[in-house]
Symmetry: C2
Subunit: 196 residues, 2 copies
DNA sequence: TCAAATTTAGAACATTTGTTCTAAATTTGA
DNA sequence: TCAAATTTAGAACAAATGTTCTAAATTTGA
């Protein structure tokens, strides 16, 4: 592991654990026994560290979309997408907890995430249509409702972790389970066998 | 308006506009032509300002619950609760945008909000039962689903504003309208006249 | 009215932060 | 092998921050 990777690993760990508000480049450097001067040789500005970590996240989401293209689109695919995304949110939790502030601070991150989300939303709309075509979802969903459902999906995806921190503070797998269930509840009324 | 109120008004305005990250007690004082020393005479610590603003918010939510107790419980009541709550979120937007970090920084705020949310959730569960009893909602909703629906409700309530900042960035009334619609979509499948 | 209480401005402080600079140590590769 | 490129530690700096201190101005109320 080279110096840059060490810095990014340490930064992710500290930001996630203690919050962006309480961690400085000096803390990050100290936590891996590196001098502050050296850290700033590798990342001239603090925001370059944030950018690099966000790029990791964005790259993971890109990979997720390629995977799905070549996969069967059914309820299992939906569960897989949800699960994988939830785990990414959890891995880069400090980003999601501070997303609005980070986006204001580093506008290119906000724009990149906005673009990414638009692509993923389209992917989910297609997935829904497939599920309707296959007779898994009810076929009487107004298209405006489909878009609304996708929106709900993404609000939950991006902020389930924040909601958990504010309320139940479930740990690890327990938290994932609770919000996986929230997604199931969202889909429940759209399943065909509940229609009648 | 006394000095304390002036400070709180200015703080709310600046935090909302520029983000908690970029505003210090000096900025707040300067914005109302007050010395920093004087500001700290009225609020010894920065967090006392945040606490006072959060108390305003919590008080408004308390009032909202008393209102509902003496009101008719129907779809209009639900719309009223949603509308009023959305406007509170908008008024105290900096709190919701930084809720997790603020909660970590000032634990009593997190605890107070957790308690408040639990009470409001119970209120919504009662409201749902009323809507079922009155034949407005379908009567075949599993109780675990009711709780899940309430959870969705609160995730959207607390984070619609953050989601909007990250994506569409609708302004004012337009944003309220978009996410009012998201709530409607959430309820749509539970309305009785959509059951068949 | 006038002494006590309060509010106020502004200087002062210790700390922290992001960043830069310098010079030494280490690594690279021809 | 050894000169050039790189990485590194640590000092240094200016700016900002939260908070405190002091002394003056203002307000209060008996």
């Amino acid at each position: 592991m080279n110096a840059k990777e060490k810095i990014l690993n340490a930064a992710l760990l500290l930001y996630n654990e203690q919050g962006i508000r309480n961690i400085t480049t000096r803390h990050i450097a100290a936590s891996i026994g590196m001098s502050g001067g050296n850290l700033h040789y590798h990342f001239k500005h603090t925001e370059d560290i944030i950018k690099a970590l966000f790029n990791e996240l964005a790259l993971a989401y890109d990979g997720l979309m390629i995977d799905v293209h070549s996969a069967l689109l059914d309820l299992d695919a939906m569960a897989f997408l949800t699960e994988t995304s939830f785990k990414l949110v959890n891995k880069y939790r400090f980003i999601f907890i501070n997303f609005v502030e980070i986006g204001k601070w580093i506008p290119e991150i906000r724009e990149a995430y906005d673009q990414l989300t638009r692509k993923r939303e389209q992917q989910f709309l297609n997935l829904f249509d497939d599920l309707i075509a296959k007779g898994i979802f009810r076929d009487d969903i107004p298209s405006s409702n489909k878009q609304g459902l996708v929106k709900q999906f993404f609000i939950t995806n991006d902020f389930w972790l924040s909601h958990n921190e504010l309320t139940d503070q479930y740990q690890d797998e327990k938290a994932l389970k609770a919000y996986r269930n929230a997604i199931d509840v969202l889909l429940w009324p759209y399943l065909k066998h509940h229609q009648t």
